[in-house]
């Protein structure tokens, strides 16, 4: 394995699997992933997730002294577990590590957490339906799919926001919830750097009123509730947007293709794949690609591969999620691990579908390099190495890290008192933790 192949596996991918072929042309290998299809298996749909909520709401409560024991609630409670295992399983087994990293990047950009019934019941469907199809498509299409998805609508309370002058608002004296509108501006698109005001936020929130969803089986999914929609045109960012559902769609398309959005996305992408403090020239390059292509993520994903700085030595620290995935890929997949790792990730401070804030997980090494965080990784590595048998640590080290493996690491592995200790040294050494 040459250095570029090792960098491709670690910087762009999820870590090499031992049985994975080494690409002769790492650039071409990464490009093929961007050009190829998403290979994630199907799973429950958003409609099926919503049906679970419907079943819980409408179950015969008298039949269950403890409703938590009902099959309806049990089924709902299993979704998070099953979706976590499925997401990890895909990450651990996929040959298209770069494409999967892009999926995780965008899922984190558009963070939801399994804290409400719809966002829990649809957490996996959200990624399958609102993220995966657009990872190499248009950013505006992804933004629209996300903003109309019940998981996001519920996570940021859009489904309870009502236009004060709408029919529902007047009758029930209910009003606006600005949560989604604000986060969309601040986190998903233009950022405060664009200079939006509180009035912009409020007006955007008015535009989004009526964007909700239904759970009954005949109508499950996004629903524009005219009766909750604030009537009238609205001004946001100096432009007037028409009344009705179409006004929101138009505004989102405008936001998606805004230069401030391009800058924000370019900076996040370069920070994620290249360096904690991205070089301004790199950011400007990706930003220009997004500008020229009107937010084509396919073009941006290819442009990242071509950044010369992306082939320099690795400086990023794997997050706990990336770290655990790399460990599982290094030692070989086992479905049992994938069901146990969600609990491990919770211990390591990065549970799946569990980011504490809409901004998602932080993406700088310093955010994950606290003393307790680092030693917890070592302890996990040791615990995990105790479950793995029949592997020669030195061989695995050379297969996974290739030329990135330092001589003193290999020396320490050779000198370890047991295979378990040797594997621990590999999984906890700095070159395994960097990407």
């Amino acid at each position: 394995m040459d250095t570029n192949a090792a960098i491709a596996f670690s910087r762009f991918g999820l870590g090499r699997r031992r049985d994975e072929p080494v690409p002769a042309d790492p650039h071409a290998w990464l490009r093929a992933q961007v050009n190829g299809p998403d290979t994630a298996p199907a799973g429950p749909t958003t409609a099926q997730g919503l049906a679970m909520i419907y079943d819980v709401i409408h179950m015969d409560r008298a039949a269950f002294p403890d409703p938590r024991q009902s099959p309806q609630v049990q089924a709902f409670n299993h979704v998070h577990h099953d979706e976590s295992a499925a997401l990890l399983g895909q990450a651990v087994t996929t040959p298209d590590g770069y494409r999967e990293r892009l999926v995780w990047f965008w899922a984190n950009h558009f963070t939801i957490a399994a804290v409400s019934r719809p966002s829990a019941a649809c957490c996996g469907a959200y990624i399958r339906e609102a993220i995966r199809p657009y990872v190499t498509g248009r950013f505006s299409d992804m933004l629209l799919a996300v903003m109309r998805h019940p998981a996001m609508l519920a996570y940021l309370n859009q489904n309870t926001s009502v236009g004060p002058n709408s029919l529902v608002g007047e009758r029930k004296s209910r009003g606006l919830n600005e949560n989604l509108a604000r986060e969309c501006l601040e986190l998903h698109t233009v950022t405060p750097a664009s200079g939006y005001t509180q009035t912009d936020v409020t007006n955007f929130a008015k535009i989004l009123t009526g964007w909700t969803f239904r759970v009954d089986p005949e109508n499950a999914g996004f629903f524009f509730q005219e009766r909750a929609h604030e009537p009238g045109e609205q001004v946001v960012l100096g432009q007037t947007w028409p009344d009705g559902e179409q006004g929101g769609v138009m505004l989102l398309q405008y936001l998606a293709d805004h230069p401030a959005t391009h800058h924000h996305l370019a900076e996040k992408l370069v920070r994620h794949f290249v360096a904690d403090d991205p070089a301004p020239a790199d950011v400007a390059h990706i930003q220009a690609v997004l500008y020229k292509t009107h937010g084509d993520l396919h073009a941006a994903s290819l442009a990242l591969i071509d950044l010369p700085s992306a082939w320099q030595p690795l400086t990023k620290l794997r997050t706990p999620q990336e770290y655990v995935i790399a460990v599982l890929r290094a030692v070989g997949a086992n479905p049992a691990y994938e069901t146990q790792m969600p609990a491990v990730l919770k211990n390591l401070g990065q549970p799946l579908f569990g980011a504490p804030f809409p901004i998602g997980w932080p993406d700088r090494a310093a955010d994950w390099a606290g003393p307790e965080s680092i030693i917890q990784r070592v302890d996990f590595a040791y615990d995990f190495a105790g479950r793995v048998t029949d592997q020669e640590p030195a061989t695995v080290a050379e297969q996974i890290l290739g030329p990135l493996l330092e001589a003193d690491t290999l020396g320490q592995i050779h000198g370890a008192g047991s295979r378990r200790d040797g594997l621990t040294l590999l999984l906890a050494c700095p070159e395994f933790q960097r990407r």
Partner: protein, 401 residues
């Protein structure tokens, strides 16, 4: 009880409970169908990393001991922090209080200057050979193959593996029950943290973070560990030993178990580290003893390690990979109260390759003596466990008549 990642034993156990045993024994030549499994218990402590036998049981009567061992030589018996005497020539490390009590009551023997049948100084290779019982790595271990020949092995889990995965010694055709507490809570020994912090020092973020965390935990390399405030936390290996004792004591429980303890690779700062390591071993033996209860009478406990360590102290107050070491043999079934050794001596020309304690007995002979005289294996069973080991006949006289 939790079975981690080893679904097969769980399934077969469930099958046995459901009365499906016949389905599993069909097509197998059951060796003694209907014969009751033995009441004898056999526990192996597998000490990975190479325990220094000359420190665990120091031949203080050997005239070359102090000059070779330097700072590693412990004070004579009867002095403060001194050895626990084993009859005038050998002394137990002071951390081995339980072993000493067992020795005095006739329930423990020391076998000294023993080694495996191989002459490898590679941990991994030597551990494989020790566990396989032959001179190459194969996919089954001698203890599993021995269990497979025992009456009842086809219908019930006679073997117990404790910890996160079954050691090679216990892998093979015979069914094995696996047990580990749900929250195992093991963390690496200070030595492994130390090796890792050397590697981590290359990294401007990971290095300082790891150092700070280790200092907080009191495990920083080179820093003496302060006593734990309040109630001392039970070491995970002690938990495993206690659980093994409980399970082995049950009338229908397993009969053979392996408990692994790592962290013996004392290349540096050996005095302090062995004091802690041997205390863990001693507490594990005490926990096993206490939980076996009446079954202790029928029990043999053996400690094995992949090789001994150099007779001379090295430049970092430790010892390097060597050859012969010592094995502890304990239990109510053991004819104890003495040290059994054909002592090779530590003098000039007496050391193996002028560095290690010379082997005078073969671990396979010890194991075969236990398998034959305690678990009742016949010649064919012994050959099955240790193929091609005619040069290591079963050692007799280890057990009470």
């Amino acid at each position: 009880m939790n079975t981690l990642m080893l679904s097969r034993p769980l399934l077969t156990r469930r099958a046995a409970l459901l009365g499906l045993t016949a389905a599993f024994t069909l097509g197998r030549t059951s060796l003694a169908l209907g014969a009751a499994p033995t009441d004898k218990r056999f526990v192996v402590f597998l000490l990975r990393g190479a325990l220094d036998g000359l420190s665990a049981v120091q031949p203080y009567g050997d005239p070359n001991c102090v000059s070779l061992r330097g700072e590693l030589a412990l004070p004579q018996p009867g002095t403060d922090g001194g050895l626990l005497d084993l009859g005038g020539f050998y002394g137990l490390h002071p951390s081995l209080q339980t072993v000493h009590a067992l020795y005095k009551s006739g329930d423990a023997t020391v076998l000294h200057a023993v080694a495996g049948h191989y002459r490898s100084r590679s941990h991994f290779e030597a551990q494989d050979y020790l566990e396989c019982g032959v001179d190459q790595r194969i996919s089954s271990g001698w203890l599993n193959r021995a269990v497979a020949t025992m009456p009842g092995a086809a219908s019930r889990d006679l073997a117990l593996s404790t910890g996160l995965s079954a050691p090679l010694m216990l892998r093979g055709p015979a069914r094995v029950e696996a047990w580990a507490p749900e929250h195992f809570g093991q963390s690496p020994a200070a030595d492994l943290y130390g090796r890792l912090s050397i590697l981590a020092d290359r990294d401007p973020l990971i290095g300082p973070a790891l150092h700070e965390a280790l200092q907080k935990r009191g495990d920083a390399p080179g820093i003496d560990q302060p006593g734990q405030p309040g109630q001392p936390k039970q070491h995970p290996e002690v938990t495993l030993a206690a659980a093994a004792g409980r399970m082995l004591a049950a009338p229908t429980g397993p009969r053979v178990a392996v408990i692994e303890i790592g962290g013996w690779d004392t290349h540096a700062a050996q005095l302090k580290r062995l004091e802690q390591q041997l205390a863990i071993l001693d507490a594990s033996i005490a926990a096993l003893h206490a939980n076996l209860g009446e079954a202790w009478r029928n029990t043999v406990v053996l400690t094995v390690t992949e090789f001994g360590r150099t007779a001379r102290i090295n430049g970092t107050k430790g010892t390097d990979h060597g050859t012969a070491g010592m094995a502890l043999l304990m239990g109510g079934a053991v004819a104890g109260g003495h040290v059994r050794a054909d002592w090779p001596g530590l003098g000039s020309g007496r050391l193996f390759e002028d560095r290690d304690l010379m082997p005078s007995a073969d671990v396979r002979a010890v194991a075969k003596g236990i398998l034959a005289n305690h678990l009742g294996l016949n010649a064919a069973g012994l050959e099955h466990a240790f193929p091609g080991s005619q040069d290591a006949p079963p050692m007799n006289g280890l057990l009470r008549a």
